[in-house]
Subunit: 262 residues, 2 copies
C-alpha cells in the first residue's frame, strides 16, 4: 500500500456513534487519509484509563462513507494503542480526538478521555490535538467547531511541530457573528466543586450521584477560561512531563536530612 496523503488518526471518547466524531471527520477528510479507531460506547470521564485486567475487542466497522473505521471495547487510550500497534504499521501524521460534546478546558484536561487519547498519541511521538465544544447536547451545532478543527489541522500539517506536541482546543458556543477567533492560552487554575446528591434505592440503601459546579480560582490573564468567555476558541499546548521544578528545588534544599535514610 502506498501512502500519498498524510494519515489522520481520528478517535474520541463519546463513542464511534457520537455526532462530534462525525463532524470532525467531515471537517478534515479532504486534508488526508482518515482512519478512525474509537470506543464502541461512550467513555466520558475515563481520564487516562487503560484496560489491563480484561481483553479488548476490535472490529472493523462501516460507519462513515468511504472511511476506514474500527471500534473497540476499550478506553480512548486503548484505542490509540490498538491503532498504533495493530491497525497501522507506521506513524500517522497527526492524531485528532473529538469533537467532544462538552468542555475540556482548564483542569478538565486531566479527567478527559478526549485529551488522554491525544496525549497517548503524543507520547508515541505523533503530534496530536483534542477538540471540545462547550455544548454537552447530543444535537449540538458543530459548525464553528468544524471550522476551527479544519484550520488547526491544516496548520499542523503545513508546519512541522515537535513530535510530542499536544494541543487542547476548546470552542465556545457562538455563531459566525459572535465568534472572535483562535487564541493561544495557558491552562486556567480551576477545579470542580462536587456536590453529591444522596438518594435511597428501593432496598433502602444509600447511593450518590456526583454533580458539581465549576470554580475558576485563576485571577490572572491569558487563560483558556478567559478566552472562551470572550468568545475565542482556546488552544493550550499540553505536556506530559509533570515534574514540578519549583517544589523540586525547594525539596532539594529542605529535605537534605532525609536523603540519607537507611
Amino acid at each position: 500500500m502506498t501512502i500519498d496523503k498524510p494519515v489522520l488518526l481520528v478517535t474520541n471518547d463519546d463513542g464511534i456513534a457520537a455526532p462530534g466524531i462525525r463532524a470532525l471527520i467531515e471537517a478534515v477528510k479532504d486534508l488526508g487519509k482518515v482512519i478512525v479507531v474509537a470506543p464502541d460506547s461512550p467513555q466520558s470521564g475515563m481520564g487516562h484509563a487503560v484496560t489491563i485486567g480484561e481483553p479488548l475487542r476490535l472490529y472493523k466497522v462501516q460507519v462513515f462513507e468511504g472511511i476506514e473505521a474500527w471500534e473497540s471495547s476499550g478506553t480512548p487510550v486503548d484505542c490509540v494503542k490498538l491503532a498504533r500497534d495493530i491497525i497501522l504499521s507506521y506513524k500517522p501524521a497527526l492524531c485528532l480526538s473529538g469533537i467532544n460534546h462538552g468542555a475540556n478546558h482548564s483542569i478538565n484536561v486531566i479527567y478527559s478521555g478526549t485529551m488522554s487519547a491525544a496525549m497517548e498519541a503524543a507520547i508515541e511521538g505523533v503530534p496530536s490535538v483534542g477538540f471540545s465544544l462547550l455544548d454537552y447536547r447530543h444535537d449540538a451545532d458543530f459548525t464553528i467547531a468544524q471550522d476551527v478543527a479544519r484550520t488547526i489541522t491544516k496548520k499542523m500539517l503545513e508546519q512541522a511541530l515537535p513530535d510530542h506536541t499536544l494541543l487542547n482546543v476548546n470552542i465556545p458556543i457562538v455563531t459566525k457573528e459572535t465568534f472572535k477567533g483562535i487564541k493561544i492560552c495557558r491552562q486556567a487554575d480551576a477545579k470542580w466543586q462536587e456536590e453529591f446528591d444522596k438518594r435511597v434505592d428501593p432496598r433502602g440503601q444509600d447511593y450518590y450521584w456526583m454533580t458539581g459546579k465549576f470554580v475558576n480560582r485563576d485571577k490572572g490573564t491569558g487563560t483558556d477560561v478567559e478566552a472562551l468567555a470572550e468568545n475565542y476558541a482556546s488552544v493550550v499546548p499540553v505536556k506530559f512531563d509533570l515534574t514540578d521544578h519549583t517544589i523540586k528545588a525547594k525539596l532539594e534544599m529542605d529535605w537534605q536530612d532525609i536523603s540519607g535514610i537507611q
Copy 2:
C-alpha cells in the same frame, strides 16, 4: 468532635483489601488520625477516571483495627471526592495514596489510579503523596516502603508545604543492606511499548490482551528511573498545570495568521 491529631486521608487503587494499603496504615497510624476511603475492588490503570454515568455506593466498613474506614464502588478519584465532600467536613492535613503494588515512576504517573487519587486531593488544596513499590506481587515485602512512607509523611507534617504539593514516591525492591536512601528527582521521559497478544475465543472471534515493555528514552541524569536503578527511593514533585510554555511561545509566534479566523 475535636480534632487533636492531624487527619491523614488514606486511599489507594488496588482496593481496600490490598496488602499495600494495610502496610501504609501500619506505617503512619501513630502520626495522626487515619481515615481510609478506598475502592471496594482493584482499580489499577484507571488513571484520572471519574464516575459520572452511574451512581456511587459508599459504605463504612470494619477492616482495620481501630481505624475509621469506608469503601466505595467508585474509582480512586471518586473516593477522594467522596471523602472530601461526604465524610470529612474539613480539609485533612495530608492525603496518602498506596502503597501501590507496582511501579508508578516516569510516564506511569498519567496511567496511575494511585497518583490520580493523590492529584485529586492536591487540586482540593490538600498536600498529597502517592507511594508505589516496584513489586507487583500480592505478597510483596513492604518493609522498606513502610520506612520511606513514614519518613516522608513525618517530614510533610513537620514542614508546611504548598497546598498543591503532590509527590510521586517510588520504592525499589531492596533490602535494608542494599537500600541507598531517598532522592528528589525529575520524571524520566519513558513510555510503554505495547505488544498485543491476539487470541481467538471459543466462538471464533478475535480478542487482544495488552502487554508491553517499558522503554526509558531519557538519556539525561536526575530521573526517577535512574535513582530507582541505583537502589534509591525516588521522589518526583508533580504538578497539574500541564501547560507546555515552550510550545505556547512557538505558537504565539508562528500561528499569528490563524488567530484572526472568523
